[in-house]
Amino acid sequence: MRVRARYAKQHRLRFVSAIDLGRIWERALRKAGLPIGYSEGFTPHPKVSFPDALALGYASTGEYVELTFAVPVDVGAAAAAFNRAAPEGLRILDATVVAEGAPRFAKWLRASLWDLRYPRDEAARLRDGVDALASAEHIPVDRERKGNITRLDLEPALHVIAADGDTVRVVLHHTEPPFRPGEVHQALRAAVGAPLREPRLITRIAQGSPEPGGIREALSGQLLPGTRDEHAAAAGQTNRGSS
């Protein structure tokens, strides 16, 4: 039986690498006594797969995993048992059984909704920066790799951007190569033309398909708008169009 789950990776666990997180998942599944399936062979591996990896240092409430169980399980009870066994910061938020013949999970993960939370007194500069980026035709960002600096255009990947007090919310298309929210910060800093401090916390809120003004969360199909006030007011029920 295959199960897809959305989970959170937060608090201290955000400093754990993707490889380490895989081991934490396997141990928590064993500790919870869940009948995870194993691959064949001399060194069997538990059937736990992750459609993508979160860079070290970011928090997330929008990570996904696919699990194959050896025998059918009650999904709600299994998620609760897992959450009791997992270390603080790792938590299944939503889980559902995968229908036979369902498309690969990665197909649904086409954009990410990010929150960049800044120190409080940056709010005014953030508003200016977001306004500048929202209307820019090109958003150059420099990426360094092995001493070489490449200039890339962030604009096509930037689906939605909005400021709300100390927080910038963005929806980034999953492009190849992907853009990181750290590069949104770089673009904001360039746009405000003044020193802008590093975000205190960057959190991936959810992943899914881009919709006008937000994204449709991959597992629940719920629509999440790209601005926090609308999200709070409408709880993501309507499509408000592009900000």
């Binding site: 754990v16 690498s17 141990r27 910061g89």
Partner: protein, 631 residues
């Protein structure tokens, strides 16, 4: 101070730095089975430190056991810290962040006691760095009355003299009961607002059996610089401080809830000691000498610990630990029962530290069942029978080759053999014997499969205190290099014979710290001030820096490392009583020079090493002695 409102968690200050360092998970805590208590609700607080990187120190059994023993007590808290990697140290110094615990991220000074577990000498400069980063004076006599008490334990604490000026208390032997007794003193100290004069605190702790307070002892030297003795400086202080020994391991079934790291460490397994102590009597082996007598944990306790340990951790590997695991009297039944229980599951069992004999192949087969037979490791230690008689590692070449034959025949593909060079009386023939033995084992392997491999791993011998070899001269690094060259030349042609060896230079520092006296402390401090950290790590060890530090401190390596001691030489650790009679150690040293082996006292009559009567203990084992005449 725990009572000081100024002491807060440093987490908000380190969190922004963590994305800028390697492996930040080392510093965050948050592991499964972590114990986090509010310091407002406790009467005593311990910071347990393993002075190496998190991934080395986290799996340490000593830290794990004491962590649980202390935290099981109401109103006592124990937290952990490890040595920060140099990138983190740099940021901590730049931002003036003190050494911190992983549970509440509290600074070192927030604790009543700082306890270091010292498995080996290579952690000494890291120990100084931890004290320094914690804001404590390096020198114990410069500490304030209400500063945390600094205690060291672990195998290296059997010669605490090189660290004497830096520590308040040392304890040799098992820590389980000792820490609880210290905890009682801490509570009284705390009740009085940590207001006792330092001398009083030390005197109170010093009354506990096994507590050695270096400040209460004075070494005296003869005119030619040798040690005349280490003498008590005040009334009521014992001439010799005994080691602590826990008598019934079934009463101490720890770890129960082993901490599970969030990031990769050197051992990711549930570990259970199946016995402590060893009476094989290998003359080079400090662990075997200082942990006597043998105390077995019963098969039933081990099985229960494994079942609960796996349930509490989610781990899927079990390590059955001891100094010579196959020697447990119920080992075959224990392995068989565990293998039955976990057959067909993803749980694997391992048995480190095994002797060279066919029985061990049987055990390994039993543990692995239908799994893939990859590598088996054995430690013949020396290449010729003569050399093995000298070190009392009693295994014949015929036994060894038979073991290899059994292993390869049962489908094992790769044998790893551990050896030492630089042993007393060693000749070039003995050294070449290592290569010859490797080649013979490889020839047997080839008969069972063209791809079968043999690895020989060669390390330089470092003489250790409380062993029959404490009198012998250590080989110089140049001599070890030459001997390695002999082996390399002999095995160079065969690509299925893998030679692994260690750089001999760090052995000089290890030997100096192992057998050093109180005067060596200055060299450690000099090395630390010159930047020495992580001396056990190849990429950090700087030999020239250590040579310079020794020279600056007036410490003569020739004299400490490369000199054979005489019968009447007073050792810097003679006032620390491991239970072994000095006369017995000397006689055993003389026997070794005559190539005379000594059997295991579990199956021959007692030869009076001194440990059992001194502790009023006997071996705790279900082995029947051979001389009792069973068939």
């Amino acid at each position: 101070m725990a009572t000081d409102p100024q002491v807060h968690s440093v987490w908000p200050r380190i969190e922004p730095l963590l994305t800028g360092v390697r492996k930040p998970a080392r510093y965050v805590g948050g592991e499964d089975n972590i114990v986090v208590k509010d310091h407002a609700d406790v009467d005593s607080s311990w910071l347990l430190i393993y002075p190496d990187a998190y991934e080395i120190g986290q799996p340490n059994q000593g830290i794990q056991i004491l962590y649980e023993v202390l935290n099981e007590r109401d109103r006592t808290v124990a937290e952990r810290a490890f040595a920060p990697w140099p990138d983190m140290e740099e940021l901590m110094r730049e931002h003036q962040i003190p050494l911190f615990s992983l549970e509440n991220h509290l600074p070192l000074k927030a604790f009543d006691v700082v306890g270091f577990s010292l498995a080996a000498e290579v952690g000494y400069t890291n120990l100084l760095n931890c004290l320094d980063l914690g804001g404590l004076s390096l020198r114990a006599d410069a500490r304030a009355d209400d500063d945390p008490l600094v205690i060291i334990g672990g195998h290296a604490a059997f010669n605490p003299e090189p660290l004497a000026p830096f520590v308040d208390v040392a304890v040799a032997g098992d820590g389980e009961e000792f820490v609880l007794e210290v905890d009682e003193v801490l509570r009284r100290w705390r009740r009085d607002g940590r207001s006792w004069p330092r001398e009083q605190l030390l005197a109170e702790v010093g009354r506990i059996e096994g507590a050695y307070v270096p400040r209460f002892y004075q070494p005296r030297y003869t005119d030619d610089g040798r040690l005349a003795g280490t003498f008590p400086r005040r009334k009521g202080v014992p001439y010799r401080v005994p080691k602590r020994t826990v008598s019934d391991l079934d009463q101490w079934p720890y770890p129960k809830k082993q901490l599970v790291p969030l990031t990769e460490t050197v051992h990711e397994r549930y570990s259970v000691e199946i016995f402590r102590g060893c009476t094989r009597g290998c003359r080079f082996c400090q662990a075997g000498m200082i942990t006597r007598p043998v105390r077995e944990r019963s098969k039933e306790t081990v099985k229960q610990m494994v079942a609960e340990g796996l349930e509490n951790t989610g781990l899927n590997e079990v390590g059955l630990l001891s100094l010579s695991s196959a020697d447990h009297s119920e080992i075959l039944g224990m392995c068989g029962d565990l293998a039955d229980t976990y057959e067909g599951t993803a749980t694997s069992l391992s048995l480190p530290s095994t002797r060279v004999d066919a029985f061990n192949v049987t055990l390994a087969d039993e543990l692995i069942r239908n799994g893939r037979r990859t590598g088996l490791t054995f430690a013949p230690e020396a290449g010729t029978e003569r050399m093995r008689r000298v070190i009392n590692k009693m295994v014949s070449e015929a036994d060894m080759l038979r073991t290899a034959e059994t292993a390869f025949a049962n489908g094992w593909r790769h044998l790893k053999l551990y050896f030492m060079i630089g042993l007393p009386t060693e000749t070039d023939e003995d050294v070449l014997g290592i290569a010859e033995l490797g080649l013979k084992v490889l020839a047997i392997g080839r008969e069972h499969g063209r791809k079968n491999k043999v690895t020989i791993s060669v390390g330089g011998f470092v003489p250790k205190p409380h062993t029959p070899f404490q009198w012998c001269a250590q080989d110089r690094p140049e001599e070890l290099q030459r001997k390695l060259g002999l082996i390399k030349a002999r095995v160079a042609s065969d690509r299925n014979l893998n030679l692994r060896y260690h750089d001999p230079e760090p052995g000089v520092m290890e030997g100096l710290l192992a057998r050093g006296d109180r005067r060596v402390a200055d060299a450690i401090e000099q090395a630390f001030l010159a930047g020495a950290r992580f001396d056990g790590w190849h990429e950090h060890y700087d030999h020239a820096r250590w040579l310079q530090a020794a020279a600056d401190a007036g410490v003569d390596l020739d004299w400490y490392c490369w000199r054979e001691r005489g019968a009447d030489e007073v050792m810097p650790w003679d006032h620390l009583d491991s239970g072994l009679e000095r006369e017995w150690l000397w006689d055993d040293w003389q026997d070794s020079l005559r190539e005379k082996p000594l059997d295991d006292c579990r199956w021959i009559p007692c030869y009076d090493c001194g440990v059992c009567p001194g502790l009023d203990l006997q071996h705790q084992t279900n082995h029947l002695p051979l001389y009792a005449g069973q068939s």
